[in-house]
Amino acid sequence: MLIMDEDNEKAYRWEGDYEKTWEALREDDSGSLQASIDAEINKAKKRRLLKKQRKVRLGMMRHIFIVLDMSQAMTDQDLKPNRALVVLKVLQKFVENFFDQNPIGQLGFIITRAKRAESLSEMSGTSQSHIKSLMKLSSEITATNAKSCTGEPSLQNSLELAEKTLKNMPSHTSREVVVIMGSLTSCDPSPIYDTIEHIKMQKIRCSVIGLSAEVHICRHLANETGGTFGVILDQTHFVDLLNDHIDPPSGMATDSSLIKMGFPQHIPPHENGKVSMCMSTKQFSVGGYYCPQCQSKYSELPVQCEVCSLTLVSAPHLARSYHHLFPLPQFSEIQYARYVHQGGREQNCFSCLKNLQKGSESSVHQCNKCKTIFCLDCNVFMHVTLHCCPGCINSRCEI
C-alpha cells in the first residue's frame, strides 16, 4: 500500500504538505533547528487537547450511514495515490474510533457509483465486519487499478437506501447520514428536493464532506436537515472533518427514554459443550452470550436480539461511555520556574518520570484537583485515551 501511515501525529507540518516545511522553522542562536521543531510538535499536541474540550452531549444510541461516492470522480489523484483509497484508509481508522466513543452505536456503509446505490455493509455494531468490507473494497480498487470507480454517483438513491433502514430505528436514537462526495454532479431519477423534505420529516441528520468543491444541493441538504457541510483542504483536514462525527452531535432532537436492555452472561465453551447457531452471523459455535429473554445465542456483543429485539450489551460496554459523563477536567499549564517559585518540589512527571526541567517544554501541567504535576505528553494521553487522572486515583479524590 502506497499510502503513508497517517495514524498518529499527521498534523506535523512536514508530514502534511512537505513543500513548505522550512517556512515554519527558524534557526536559534546556535544555528540549531531542534527548538523550533519541538515548538511545532508541542503546538500540534496542544491543538489536539483543545479539540477535546468541546462539550459532548449524550444522545448516545447513534445510527450512522456513511455514503461513499465511488464514482469516476474518486479516481482523481489530488489525494495520493487516489481519492478512493485515501478515503477508505481514513474510514478504517474512523470505524475504530467511532466504536470506541460510541460503544452502543451502529454504523452502516453505502456506496454509490454508476447512478446506483448499493449497501457495502449493513447497519451493525461490530467494527470488524465494517473494517473487513472496507478493506475488501480497497483491495478491489487496487487490483482493478481504480477501474471499478465508474460513472456518476446518485445522491437521491443513496439517501433513499439509507432512509429505508434508518426510519425503523427507535425514536430515542439518533439517525444520521454522512455523505463523502467526490463528484460535483449527482444523477437522480426524480426531484431531489422532495427527498430532502422527506428525510427532514424523518429527523435524519445529513452531513456532507465534499472532496472537490462546494455544491449547492449538498449545502442545502446539510442546512435543511441540521447537518454540517465542509469541503476538504487536504488529507489532514479531511480526517478532522470526518472525526467531527465521532462525538455525538450537540443539540440534536432525540427523545430521551428508558431503554430496556439485556445483560447476557458469557458461557465459556467448556461449560456447555453443545453446538448452537449464533443468530447474527448464522454460524455454528460452542458457547457464547445467551439472550436473557429468549435464550437465542450470539457470539458477540453489542447486538440487538433478532428474535425478541432486546438490545444486548455487557456492563463494560456501558462503562466505556462513562468518560462522557465524567470528563476529566482540563489541567492548567504553569511555567516550571513559577511552579518552583510557588514551592513545588517535584522534578519529574508523576506518571512517566520524565524530567520536567530539561527538554523543550519548560512548563508543567497540573491537575487542579489533586495538584499533581505531569508532562505535556501525559496530559494529552490522559485526556485523549486514559480519561482519568492517576494523581486523583492515588489520592482517592472523589470524581
Binding site: L58, G59, M60, M61, D100, N168, P170, S171, H172, T173, T254, D255, S256, S257, L258, I259, K260, M261, G262, F263, P264, Q265, H266, I267, P268, P269, H270, P292, S309, L310, S314, A315, P316, L318, A319, R320, S321, Y322, L325, F326, N348, C349, S351, C352, L353, F374, D377, C378, F381, M382, T385, L386, H387, C388, C389, P390, I393, N394, R396, I399
Partner: protein, 309 residues
C-alpha cells in the same frame, strides 16, 4: 520472536499493609519472600534480551510508587564495585529496586493507610503513562510489545470501578496486555481486564508456587503463548462475569432499563432518571410499545412458517 520488537514490562506489586500484615500474623505468607521471588523473576526477564525494558510499581493503600526506574535516572553512580559476580546491569537494577522497597517498607503506616484495598487502578494508570512514554521514545521503525503484570493481594474495591474501567479501555486501545497473578481472593475486575486485553489470569495457591508460576506462565511473552497448548487454554477456563449492577440497589441484573441520556442502569422502570434527572416522556413509551408489536409481525411471518414445517 520478532527481533525488532522491544519488550516492555511493568510489574505492579500490591503491598497492602493490611493484607500482608494479616497474612504475616497468621504465619501464612511473608512479603519479603514474595518480593525475593519477584526479583528472581525480573532478573530472568531482563536476561531474556538485553533490550528488555522494565519498570516496577509498588501499589500501597494510599500511594503508588515507582520502585524502578529510580526517579533521578541519569546520574549513573559508580556501580562497578558490587563485590559479587552478578552482572553489572542486574546489580544496578536489583539494588535500585531493593533500596526503594526498603525505604517504602520502613516508612511505616499511618492511620489513613489502614484500608483493605490497594490503589491498583492508579498504579495501572501510571504504568500505562510510562509505557506510552517508552513507546513514544522508540525509533519509528521499532515496535514495542508491552504488558503489565499485576501481582495482587488485597481485595477489589468498588470505589475504583470507574477508573479501573477507564484504565482497561486505555490498555485495550494501546494494545497493552494485562496479566494478573492473584495471591488473595479472586478479583472480578482483573478477570475482566485480562479477558479484554488477552492477558493471563492465574490464582496462586501457595507461596511455593508463586515463583514457579511467575517463571513458567508470566515469563512467556503474550505473542508466544498462543502456540502453547497449556498457556492458551488457561485463558478460556474462567467464565468472566460481565453482568451489570443497577444504580439503584447495586444488585446484578440480567434485564434492566438504561437511561438513553446518561446510560445509568435501573432494575425497574421509573419516570425520572435519578442520575441525570431527565424526565422520560410518556410518548416515547407509547411509541416503543407500538413499535415492538410491529417489528415481530413484519419479520416473523416467513420465519414462523419455516419453523412449523
Amino acid at each position: 520472536m520478532d527481533p525488532g520488537e522491544q519488550q516492555v514490562l511493568v510489574v505492579i506489586f500490591d503491598v497492602s499493609p493490611v493484607w500482608w500484615g494479616l497474612k504475616s500474623l497468621q504465619g501464612q505468607a511473608h512479603i519479603t519472600k514474595f518480593f525475593d521471588s519477584l526479583i528472581i523473576f525480573m532478573n530472568s526477564y531482563l536476561m531474556l534480551h538485553s533490550d528488555n525494558k522494565l519498570a516496577v510499581i509498588a501499589s500501597h493503600s494510599t500511594k503508588s510508587i515507582f520502585l524502578y526506574p529510580p526517579p533521578q535516572a541519569g546520574n549513573e553512580q559508580n556501580s562497578s564495585e558490587y563485590g559479587d559476580c552478578r552482572d553489572k546491569h542486574f546489580a544496578v537494577v536489583d539494588n535500585a529496586i531493593i533500596s526503594s522497597f526498603k525505604t517504602l517498607m520502613s516508612d511505616g503506616c499511618e492511620e489513613k493507610d489502614m484500608r483493605s484495598d490497594s490503589l491498583i487502578a492508579g498504579s495501572m494508570a501510571n504504568a500505562l503513562c510510562y509505557i506510552h512514554r517508552i513507546t513514544q521514545e522508540l525509533e519509528s521503525r521499532e515496535r514495542a510489545s508491552s504488558r503489565i503484570l499485576v501481582v495482587k493481594a488485597a481485595d477489589d474495591a468498588a470505589s475504583q470501578y470507574m477508573s479501573f474501567m477507564n484504565v482497561i479501555f486505555a490498555a485495550q486501545k494501546e494494545h497493552v496486555v494485562v496479566d494478573s497473578c492473584v495471591l488473595g481472593q479472586d478479583s472480578g475486575l482483573l478477570q475482566q481486564a485480562c479477558d479484554m486485553t488477552g492477558g493471563l489470569y492465574l490464582k496462586v495457591p501457595s507461596q511455593y508456587a508463586f515463583l514457579q508460576y511467575l517463571l513458567t506462565a508470566f515469563l512467556t511473552e503474550p505473542e508466544l503463548r498462543k502456540d502453547s497448548l497449556v498457556l492458551s487454554r488457561t485463558k478460556s477456563l474462567h467464565s468472566v462475569d460481565y453482568r451489570a449492577a443497577c444504580f439503584c440497589h447495586r444488585c446484578l441484573v440480567e434485564v434492566g432499563f438504561v437511561c438513553s441520556v446518561c446510560l445509568s442502569i435501573f432494575c425497574q422502570f421509573s419516570p425520572i432518571c435519578s442520575t441525570c434527572e431527565t424526565v422520560f416522556r410518556p410518548s416515547s413509551l407509547v411509541l416503543k410499545s407500538r413499535k415492538k408489536r410491529k417489528v415481530p409481525s413484519r419479520s416473523s411471518s416467513p420465519c414462523t412458517d419455516a419453523s412449523i414445517k
